[in-house]
Symmetry: D2
Subunit: 211 residues, 4 copies
């Protein structure tokens, strides 16, 4: 059974007060693969208590990724949408790839790690040369402040369209990845199944890319 929270508390041994320099020997791979014994948590991971306190005190930095398949001229042929069990476990929700940027993790590492988390290690995301996002979505914990709502937190999501060059193998809480053409009824249906503003981000991505 998949774990329902987007951030699984580890055993809580992350020492938030580590001295400067502790990240000197951390490589990008440590964020992307996790580290320690087997597939542990990456550096910067937080225990549940710390995470929840942070979520009520400061905006959380996120990446929101619309995965796409492209042709030889770079045109988007398909958009990937993720099927997940919703947070309360009762229903199936549709979304895109979304995840927190960890302490001392770069945006590029966060993109690679979150793609690997949802689509597997062989997805081969093509990360852009410039990290200027196509948009910035502001999720508030109060319904109605903006289109973007997240009951857990105030988050600021940098939004990217990321081509996937490899094979997808849905992971963790992701049940399946479905690819739809970027126009027509299928993508409209997919957007309609997304909640809390994620569909708006897909619509923005569709408007931004060159169809």
């Amino acid at each position: 059974m998949p774990v329902l929270n987007d951030e699984v508390p580890d055993d809580g041994d992350f020492d938030a007060g580590r001295r400067r320099g502790e990240f000197d020997n951390i490589r990008p791979e440590d964020f992307i693969d996790g580290h320690g014994n087997g597939r542990g948590n990456p550096p910067g991971w937080l225990g549940r208590e710390d995470l929840e306190r942070n979520r009520r005190q400061v905006p959380m930095a996120y990446v929101e990724i619309v995965p796409v398949r492209i042709d030889q001229l770079g045109r988007v042929e398909e958009i990937g949408t993720l099927l997940r069990i919703s947070d309360d476990g009762s229903i199936v929700d549709r979304t895109v790839i979304t995840g927190r940027i960890l302490y001392h993790e770069s945006i590029r590492e966060a993109i690679a790690r979150n793609v690997a988390k949802d689509l597997g290690d062989l997805a081969l995301p093509m990360i852009p040369q410039c990290l200027q996002p196509f948009g910035v979505a502001e999720f508030f914990p109060t319904p109605g402040v903006s289109e973007y709502y997240d009951p857990r937190q105030h988050s600021i999501a940098l939004c990217y369209v990321i081509p996937i060059a490899g094979d997808c193998n849905p992971q963790d809480e992701t049940l399946d990845v479905e690819w739809v053409t970027p126009r027509g009824a299928d993508v409209e249906n997919a957007i309609a199944q997304m909640s809390n503003g994620h569909g708006t981000i897909v619509r923005q991505a569709l408007a931004w890319i060159d169809l």
Copy 2:
């Protein structure tokens, strides 16, 4: 004497555990002006202890603003640089406008509040219609990880060029604002006086705008 830290701890009475709904009656002006008796702290402000813990656990969301003067066709005529006393109080540092995005504060509010904080209430910043930043700067607490270094924290700064249409009246820790033409020795000197990567952001802004 100006206060030297970019975030002044208030009396610590901010209740991080406030229930949802507490921001229902907060207006943009409350962030920009502060609220309560006179010019108190805006909602979302943190006491020093909470702030320092957050700074060691999660990336902090920032705006970094390059203020400019423009002509009738939108061309940049001057770039504003700020003279400040450095954090340890010993020397004068040059920088641009930079500040944290507070809990439940929108990016627009953070831009308006931070411009008002440094340039005064009559600066009349012209905030863009789209919040797509011209760049995203990642400051790490470990020197050498990137060009951007901040010993206090890992921060992710959304970078904007903001025209100033009104009058500037330097505030708080800002001693003076100096306007230089966007080309030539003056702007190069100003950039050379900026530390920890802020000069690189000005250089990016200069390359991005249309001179």
Copy 3:
């Protein structure tokens, strides 16, 4: 009665073979106001024969401008749409501001001139500091090649959202300017009345701006 073509041939005396240096004394105002006696044509204007030949041989450079009204925080409150008599004079068409970039005219001048042409001299467009367009629309003379169709020509339109700070006084072939809120039935109706892809550009602008 309004003239129906977007480019009115003058008396054809433009000398396409003028030697280099002829634009040395041309100021931006000459493009924006026209020049010569009264309101003549700006430099770079072409007679009908030259214009038509160019239109069959090379892509024409255009600006496409979505005019907006904004609030103090830069948020879009209204979108302006133009009512025009269609090219064949029979029906009323709805569109945004669109016009050719003339020989030796800068993009900024083209934006200012085309806004003045449709909305009058007191519109006070706020031209951005960076000319990076939010999108590039490619109009082809062959239906079906892209969403953007222009039977007259292949054109490449740089698309901008431009706030209008002043008063509008519709000019030339523009019968009226109507302002609608950027969400809801009114803007959807306006988009539905636009032909040949201009509605898609408005939809892209709506997705790109921060609502």
Copy 4:
């Protein structure tokens, strides 16, 4: 001996007055590969006389491409610069990839065709999903109007950073492609050897990408 002009006149048989519909059966490959017997000219090519008249009457649409090599996380490792014989044949000039967008050619096709023209058919350019350029350079035939000068014409160049995934085999008037790291003396030397504003475009690209 390489041909020195960026557009080689063919035998002049392009019929500028072809009726609409003539491009119905043209595929992207016809622009990229040329068509007809062997490696002829692509559709939309112009004879010298037509080209020169157009160049004095309307702005010409161009793409300007900074080729880069990237690592697995999308970071730029090297920037490609082209060595060419200058237009008058006397000296060696350094530049990036630049070329005209042809009549009825899409921007994507123009990018692919111009990369293939300079770097060969196996370069495998990775064209972005969105054609929003990082900048727009305006070249004027009058020196001093802007940083960008082109004695042949007024051109409007859409500027892109394009990763090259394949092998380079310099073609036509390109003598060699040299790859330099994006920082330090080598790239500064390369920029210093570029004339008429092309170095400024490389500098903009360097500022825009995430180093």
